[in-house]
């Protein structure tokens, strides 16, 4: 029993060595990238990667680890971006407090949307989340503080903790890196917690979990709120990075994009959504020159990925190498 001491879950004996190496390699790659990327790549681009990576990971907590497909996650991401932008601009909040405000807003919104949606399953669940997200979009368009079609512009980055100037791009970068890592670790821990264990049981066999006495709806709701909160943190952070919150952030296409990122990387894997977000965001950047054809290329990439790597890239690698919990 001692040899599994480092695993939080019970990995079949024959796969333990490989799994441990696989996990170590991915952690090193991720941390290495996060620490060093701004020296090789344009920092704002890397910050965008990290924000969407956190968004995708938050989304994955729901679809990959709870089995709920939300088609309205842009509401949390974009809604929080507006709230964060507003409290920074109009009320002069410091950046960290802005992110917290955005996260809290997303949590409350998540509680409402989740409570309404989890009464239904499958496609109906997805449709309810989509419908409610459309309502949020409507408010984003209509409310006076959001700037309507123009969005909320010129959000000040300000000073972190009162003395770190976030207008300096490396300062800003490492702040975003920390937010990302904290969010990523929070999700990692949630998955590997007693709560996460029940979530997995629910995803694998809901009636059975119910018959064992677990209040399935409550678990789903908590997972929904956690996911919404972290999506909100990602959106708020993005608003500070770009100093801009716009209708695109709450648009249904953003909800679609995060599904895409998660599926391409591997839903239900830990590192997959990060990779998926990197790929999609990078493609968008590389292909900006070709205008609206971007969507076609991304769509084609998506179809190819789903056909060739049904479990997503990390998911397929894990399957081939028999790695667990990567």
């Amino acid at each position: 029993m001692t040899d599994i001491a480092e695993f939080e879950e019970d990995v079949p004996a024959q796969d333990r060595g490989r799994t441990r190496i696989g996990q170590a390699v991915l952690w090193i790659l991720l941390l290495g990238f996060v620490l060093l990327a701004p020296f090789f790549l344009y920092p704002v681009f890397v910050m965008q990667l990290l924000c969407f990576a956190l968004f995708a990971c938050a989304f994955n907590l729901l679809i990959g680890f709870t089995g709920l497909l939300s088609f309205g996650h842009a509401a949390f991401f974009g809604g929080a971006a507006y709230i964060c932008g507003h409290v920074l601009t109009a009320w002069g909040f410091p950046p960290l407090l802005g992110i917290i405000a955005g996260g809290l807003f997303a949590a409350v919104l998540g509680l409402v949307v989740g409570a309404l949606a989890i009464r239904r399953q499958g496609i109906y669940f997805a449709m309810i989340t989509l419908a409610l997200a459309q309502i949020v979009y409507f408010f984003a368009l209509q409310l006076p503080f959001t700037g309507g079609e123009d969005g909320l512009q010129g959000i000040p980055r300000g000073y972190l903790l009162g003395f770190i100037n976030l207008n300096d791009s490396l300062n800003m970068y490492y702040f975003v890196a920390v937010v990302f890592l904290v969010g990523f670790l929070a999700i990692y821990r949630t998955i590997h917690s007693p709560f996460g264990q029940v979530l997995q049981a629910i995803r694998e066999n809901e009636p059975r979990a119910l018959s064992l006495g677990y209040n399935v709806d409550r678990f789903k709701l908590i997972a929904f709120v956690l996911s919404a909160t972290l999506a909100g943190v990602a959106g708020s952070t993005k608003a500070i990075v770009f100093q801009f919150a716009s209708l695109t952030d709450v648009h249904w296409s953003t909800s679609g994009e995060v599904i895409l990122m998660t599926l391409v990387g591997g839903m239900g894997t830990i590192f997959g959504p990060v990779l998926g977000a990197f790929i999609v965001v990078a493609l968008q950047h590389v292909l900006t020159g070709i205008g609206s054809w971007v969507q076609v290329v991304i769509g084609a990439t998506f179809v190819a990925c789903v056909l060739v790597f049904r479990r997503g890239i990390i998911g397929e690698i894990a399957r081939l190498l028999k790695l667990h919990s990567v």
């Binding site: 007693p194 709560f195 018959s211 006495g213 956690l226």
Partner: protein, 257 residues
């Protein structure tokens, strides 16, 4: 305490216009093994779903230890001590056998909502989970994922998981369905072993199993109780023979040997 652990009074459910369970009265005696038999589509699983609140009865009342549980939720039912299994194998496929049992044991730790705590804390349950696995002869499969286990072992794992909750009342929906003779024997033995100190209600097609295990048999047909009593009495009932025995005489022979 009263002799009756579970009682159904005139429970009925209809889906659309179709009445799947029709005003069924049922009394389960504490400490007994009570089998429910009947042809396919008789309403056995639906009756289970009613008793464990997976369905809400259209009318009627359900009492557990004298307490009205008609409007309780499935999760509450489990907490009261009624745990069911399912007709199709109910394991958590990508968890190991040990983890499967631990899911049942974990509830009593009272930290199921603790998403900030490491799962390592669940290791304190490993010894108990292992003991449960040994009880059903699965110790060698502890670190095997359920999906990779043979069918008969999965059903045993289900029973081990159910037992992890120490249920006062256990409802098993066709625990031997789809099993070879050898596995049927193993599961029969297992049920005999674990009946001590609890009540078991089981749906079972295999009359060999029913005749060896059950104290009382209820025959269900088209959602109604056709007959009730010990095996010797029920099996001689002409209506039962017509409705049921004819259909599965071969089945009974095939597995009795």
């Amino acid at each position: 305490m009263d002799d009756t652990i579970l009682e159904a009074r005139k429970i009925r459910i209809s889906f659309g216009g179709f009445v799947a369970v029709k005003d069924v009265d049922l009394k389960i005696k504490r400490g007994s093994i009570h089998a429910i038999i009947g042809p396919n589509g008789a309403g056995k699983t639906t009756l289970f779903n009613l008793l464990t609140k997976f369905h809400r009865p259209t009318s009627g009342q359900i009492l557990f230890n004298g307490q009205d549980i008609t409007s309780r939720k499935p999760a509450e039912i489990a907490k009261l001590g009624i745990v069911r299994s399912f007709q199709i194998s109910a394991v958590f496929p990508h968890l190991t056998a040990l983890e499967n049992v631990r899911v049942a044991l974990q509830r009593k730790l009272g930290m199921n909502y603790h998403f900030w705590r490491s799962q390592k804390i669940l290791r304190q349950l490993d010894a108990e989970a292992m003991a449960r696995l040994e009880q059903v002869g699965l110790q060698d499969f502890a670190h095997t994922r359920a999906v990779e286990m043979p069918y008969g072992r999965k059903r045993a794992l289900e029973i081990a998981t159910t037992l992890g909750l120490e249920p006062e009342l256990m409802l098993l929906d066709e625990p031997t369905q789809g099993m070879g003779t050898e596995d049927v024997g193993t599961v029969t033995e297992l049920i005999r072993k674990v009946r001590e100190g609890r009540t078991i209600v089981m749906v079972e097609h295999n009359l060999g199993v029913v005749s060896t295990l059950a104290d009382t048999i209820t025959v269900l047909n088209r959602g109604e109780v056709l007959a009730e009593g010990p095996y010797e009495v029920v099996s001689k009932n002409p209506q039962v023979m017509e409705a049921y025995m004819g259909v599965s005489a071969e089945e009974a022979e095939g597995t009795d040997a």
